[in-house]
């Protein structure tokens, strides 16, 4: 069974541009979570999608947005890129959203570099 897959693996963009990151959850998982891992800041929760709806978002500006498609895959869009957006973006999926004590499975991440 395939795990969580993310694309691209690496992405280099210029300040002010837009970046689109993609995530495919494990088959049967309806929830997708996005995290940002910037150097020295640890993992920060970005967004949670379930059944096509945005369920929660972290403390990030509106230029971070996304969506979830009918097949439960997800996109993360970052507009007006800033240098500090350079980070590893991790996607995770889980089977039982809203339930306590369920495990999340992470993808390998997309390394975004803004120059």
């Amino acid at each position: 069974e395939a795990g969580v897959t993310q694309s691209p693996t690496h992405l280099i963009k210029t300040r002010g541009q837009q970046a689109t990151l993609r995530c495919s959850p494990i088959s049967g998982h309806t929830s997708v979570y996005w995290y940002q891992q910037a150097l020295g800041l640890g993992l920060q929760f970005l967004l949670w999608y379930d059944e096509g709806e945005e369920r929660n978002r972290g403390n990030f500006p509106p230029r971070f947005s996304g969506r979830q498609f009918p097949n439960y895959s997800s996109e993360l869009n970052v507009n007006a890129l800033e240098l500090e957006d350079s980070a590893l973006y991790l996607c995770a999926s889980s089977l039982l959203p809203g339930q306590k004590n369920t495990e999340a499975f992470f993808g390998q991440g997309t390394r975004l570099t803004v120059v």
């Binding site: 800041l41 640890g42 993992l43 949670w48 991790l90 995770a92 306590k100 999340a104 992470f106």
Partner: protein
């Protein structure tokens, strides 16, 4: 803000030795989880311990949880070079699944042959 804070920030040991990492958190939790990350790539789930559990084992891993002290420890016994990675604790404190999973900054473990 970071809920979980790992200690130490970095740990260097020899193969065969045990490695102990600690995590402290601030609020009540549903569970605490430990993850491993190799070379800045994806996270691998290691173990989940519920708030009503005190100790849990998985292979060479032993996790303890002390809710009165709001702390947890991860013990890796008989370490191997392949255990070299960053280890993160994450706390689940909400009712909305992983939207409230909060990570610490991690402990970098280096196991030398």
């Amino acid at each position: 803000s970071q809920q979980g804070e790992e200690d130490p920030q970095a740990l260097s040991i020899q193969e065969g030795e045990n490695a102990t990492m600690n995590c402290s958190y601030k609020t009540s939790i549903n569970n605490l989880q430990w993850y491993r990350q190799n070379s800045g790539r994806g996270l691998v789930h290691l173990i989940l311990i519920r708030s009503n559990e005190r100790e849990k084992h998985s292979g060479r891993l032993r996790v303890t949880l002390d809710t009165s002290k709001k702390s947890s420890s991860l013990l890796i016994t008989a370490s191997r070079a392949a255990d070299t990675a960053s280890y993160f604790c994450a706390t689940d404190a909400g009712l909305r699944g992983y939207s409230t999973l909060t990570f610490g900054k991690g402990t970098m473990l280096l196991v030398s042959p």
